[in-house]
Each structure stands twice: as structure tokens, then as C-alpha cells.
Amino acid sequence: MKLDRTDRDIVAALQGGLPLVAAPYAQVAAELGMDEAALIDRLKAMKARGIIRRIAAAPNHYRLGMVANGMTVWDVDDAQVAELGALVGALPFVTHCYERPRALPDWPYNLFAMVHGSNRDEVEEKRARIADLLGGACRAHDILYSTRILKKTGLRLRRKG
């Protein structure tokens, strides 16, 4: 863990979220017994190191009407997956795109692209556009619709003594 004790305390204080008040960093700093400027400097440093990607809202896309959520999965020729993955990831409607290992024989797919829409027809139309893009480099594909959010908490550190 590349965090010192103070960074760990800050992560632990913020993993549940930032308070929605006018001066949120001042409030968190007070809870941690630091001053606001010191906390802000620490947060800036964590951003520069990539530990914090951004400070923002995580919307529940189901509640926004994006009720169809499909994880599209593709068996793409290994020699072309880097180049084609970059093209799929650049599509405006793809929200996450990763190369992952296959789990043969059960799971032949090595490219995962998450697609959302207000209904399944919309998601299928987007899936067809990915299929066109991959063309002959794709041997098989599938789509896994999510039917229920079972847990969504984000990162939790175990507290250390």
C-alpha cells in the first residue's frame, strides 16, 4: 500500500463519500483534526498519483431510465484485440471496455464492452454496431443483461489498528 497513515485516514474518511455541504473539505478536515489546506494538498497529491481519479457523483443509471444494461463479450483474435479494443472503447455508447483472460472451455471471450440503453432494443442495436466493427476478427459473442444490482459500495479499506 503506497499510502502513509494520514493518506489512509483520509481515504477511510472519504470512502463513504464527501458531505454535501458548502465547505466539504473543511468539514472532513475538522473531523480528521487537520486544517483544510493540508487536506486539500493531500487530495491534490493523491490525484496527481492517480489514487483519486476524480471527485464526482456516481449516478444510479437504473433510476435514470437506463434500465437495459448489457455486458457484451467477444472472442477476438489475440493478434488484433489491442487495435480493435481501442476502436470499441472509443465508441460513444461504450462506458467500459477491457481485455480479460478467457476461461476455456466455458468462457471463450476476451473482450468485454459495457453498453447501456433505455431498453433492450437500443442495447441490441449498439451491440450490432460493435459486431460490424469487429467483423471477421470476432469468432463468437454474447451479451449478459444485468437483472439486479446486488451490491454497490465502491472500495472499502479494512481498518488497521
Partner: protein, 150 residues
């Protein structure tokens, strides 16, 4: 369906961008939208209470902290689903968990403080449930700018 008006949607879209590290960060967000800070805070608070915003705060990258993420999947027999779910969700390393329509019907993300923690957590789940945990760690990431247009 979500009961949001146009201003809620504008606020929610703006709130998915990075909040500044300043004394009054919501005033900056409000200024971009041409409204007051108190209005932004009240509406964000309401959207959070209503479950439209799941969480507001820093998005931590476990890998950059020396930790790791791993997508995992299990084929859970229908009759055992709720029992297995209780065991899996009880693990603090399980950050997200989704039910999906497939033979592999439970998909979750493990987030741990060390790369070794992934194996330990996956093995603990296998012991607890008697089911195989398929591990799908990312080999390459092609896009990370997750935003939902409200």
C-alpha cells in the same frame, strides 16, 4: 420515471465532472450552471436521498494505491442464490455485485489493498460457497471515462 426536471439533469451531468479542490467547490459548479450554491446542494442532497445518486465523492483507484481489482463470476444454482449472495456480499472486498442472465449469473468486483488479496478473497468465497470463482482480471483497459447522460 425518475422525477427529475431539466435543472436536476443539468446538475447531475455537471456533478459527474471533477469537483474542484477549493474551499467552496459547489459554488464553482453552481457558477458554471448560472444558479446558486444552495440550490445545487439542496438538489444534490435530494437526488442522493432518492437513490438517483448512489454516491458522491472521490473515485479511488485501488491499483494506484498498490491494491487490485478483479472481475469475478460464479454459476450459482438458482435454489442457492440468496444464501450464496449473503455470503458473497458479507465480504468487504466485494465492491460491486450484479445478477446477470447467463449460466454465470453472479458477477462481482473484488477490490483489495494488495494483488495477493484478490486470490485470498476469491479462495475464501470458494471455501464458503463450494462454488468455482472464475477470475477475469483486466489485461488492458480501453476506456475509463464513465459518464451517464442524465
Amino acid at each position: 420515471m425518475s422525477g427529475l426536471d431539466d435543472l436536476d439533469r443539468a446538475i447531475l451531468n455537471a456533478a459527474q465532472e471533477d469537483l474542484p479542490l477549493t474551499h467552496r467547490p459547489f459554488a464553482a459548479l453552481a457558477g458554471r450552471l448560472g444558479i446558486g450554491e444552495a440550490e445545487v446542494l439542496a438538489r444534490l442532497h435530494r437526488m442522493k436521498q432518492a437513490g438517483i445518486i448512489t454516491r458522491f465523492g472521490p473515485f479511488f483507484d485501488a491499483a494506484a494505491m498498490g491494491g487490485a481489482f478483479c472481475l469475478c463470476a460464479m454459476a450459482v444454482p438458482r435454489a442457492d442464490f440468496e444464501t450464496v449472495l449473503t455470503k458473497v456480499n458479507a465480504m468487504p472486498e466485494v465492491a460491486h455485485n450484479y445478477e446477470r442472465a447467463h449460466r454465470l449469473n453472479m458477477w462481482f468486483v473484488l477490490a483489495t489493498e494488495t494483488p495477493e488479496g484478490i486470490e485470498a478473497a476469491a479462495e475464501a468465497i470458494e471455501r464458503e460457497t463450494g462454488l468455482t470463482v472464475h477470475r477475469f482480471p483486466k489485461l488492458q483497459e480501453f476506456y475509463i471515462g464513465f459518464r451517464v447522460a442524465a
